[in-house]
């Protein structure tokens, strides 16, 4: 116990007895307070460190314009167009001749994630090396999209482990497509 042994017994046959007060202090409240503060500091220190999402953009040098010689396998190419009101549109393949026509979707596990997983399976079926090559996603945000939408889609890429994705510039034709579907 925390109490000190104040001894004092056994001097003169126990005749003179001073009143023994117990010098032990009740530490319960102190410990309570200490743990409360620990919890506070622990949570604030670890939670205040900001999370971050690394983002690498394709090199954009006006001097070496792309010479259009990189062949993009259309069967593995998915384009996501981010529209307004937290809605998006995606299609597979080329814009002019999509292998899967533009489909509207929402964010989250029940909508766009299912589509991405489905398209990943399609992409893997269309390649000789399904281990290394998967879906290629081109993210095109329109001017009405919010930053949250962009981060949500980038997050989706991380969740679904899409190896190859890039943020591209939206074309006027794609804006028209968004307008037709009422997403712009």
């Amino acid at each position: 116990m925390a109490e000190l042994n104040t001894g004092g017994d056994g001097g003169k046959g126990g005749k003179v007895r001073s009143k023994k007060s117990n010098p032990g202090v009740d530490l319960t409240a102190m410990v309570d307070l200490a743990f409360l503060l620990i919890t506070f500091f622990m949570l604030t220190t670890t939670l205040s460190k900001p999370q971050s999402m690394p983002l690498a953009m394709p090199d954009k040098d006006p001097k070496n314009e792309p010479k259009d010689n990189t062949k993009i396998p259309e069967a593995r190419m998915m384009t996501i167009l981010i529209g307004k009101d937290n809605k998006l549109l995606w299609y597979m393949g080329k814009f002019e001749t999509p292998t899967i026509a533009p489909t509207e979707a929402a964010y989250g596990k029940n909508s766009i994630r299912k589509d991405i997983l489905k398209n990943t399976a399609i992409a893997k079926a269309n390649t000789d090396k399904p281990e290394e090559e998967g879906l290629i996603v081109n993210i095109k945000a329109s001017d009405v999209a919010s930053y949250r939408n962009l981060v949500d889609i980038l997050d989706e890429m991380a969740i679904n482990k899409v190896q190859l994705y890039a943020i591209g510039d939206i074309t006027p034709a794609e804006i028209d497509l968004l307008k037709q579907t009422g997403l712009y």
């Binding site: 001017d143 009405v144 981060v151």
Partner: protein
């Protein structure tokens, strides 16, 4: 019949050791905790599931909210950045102002208003609507200049440390983190990204919060 004696033990526990440990941990956390610096523009970052932490050193942060842009330079590179900007824009800062700039975390004013901002106290500086953001349009792209000069200043700091024989220093380019408000519209962010890409800064970080709801 013999009475069953229930020995009465004291229910009190010795808390000395527990108290010791608790206070040891408490002092540890108090000492390692860093006070949160006041920001001129608090932003509500979007959330993500990515658990990567931002590097602790050598990160310059661009905060974006309400189309206003604020810039935070790592402390070591602040003086160099300011002197480089001063030369570029032909402004002179006094020793006192340089000292204040080094002590200031984030800021968001055009360069010609920086002197006025440095004359204010910390509380006045971080008052809402006091700072209106750094110009970043194509006419007066001061943000691009700040980023460029900060990168050069950081490089100079690292070079000096390597020249001093500090072998723990590895050369790395200044990391840029974009701390955007979740409600910010995409063209603003796109403009920031374009500014960074114009100076061949193709890799950067997006600051996000931790997603806790079922996504």
């Amino acid at each position: 019949m013999a009475k069953v004696k229930i020995s009465r033990k004291s229910t009190r526990i010795d808390m000395t050791a527990m108290c010791d440990v608790a206070f040891l941990l408490l002092s540890f956390f108090v000492m390692t905790a860093t006070a949160k610096q006041p920001e001129p523009k608090p932003v509500d970052t979007p959330v993500s599931t990515v658990l990567d932490k931002l590097p602790e050193e050598g990160v310059a942060t661009i905060s974006v909210g309400d189309k206003q842009v604020f810039f935070t330079i790592p402390r070591a590179a602040r003086e160099g950045t300011l002197s480089r900007m001063a030369t570029k824009y032909n402004v002179t800062f006094t020793q006192e102002e340089i000292k204040k700039f080094v002590g200031m975390d984030g800021f968001g004013v055009p360069l010609n208003q920086l002197k006025g901002l440095l004359a204010l106290s910390v509380n006045e500086r971080n008052a809402p609507n006091m700072q209106k953001g750094i110009p970043y349009d194509s006419v007066g792209n001061q943000l691009g200049d700040w980023v460029e000069q900060a990168r050069e200043a950081e490089k100079a700091v690292l070079d000096a440390r390597i020249a001093d024989g500090d072998e723990t220093v590895k050369y790395k380019d200044l990391d840029i983190a974009i701390k955007g408000d979740a409600k910010e519209d995409y063209p603003t962010i796109k403009r920031i990204i374009d500014i960074l890409q114009a100076q061949k800064k193709n890799k950067f970080y997006l600051v996000t919060g931790l997603r806790n709801e079922d996504f």
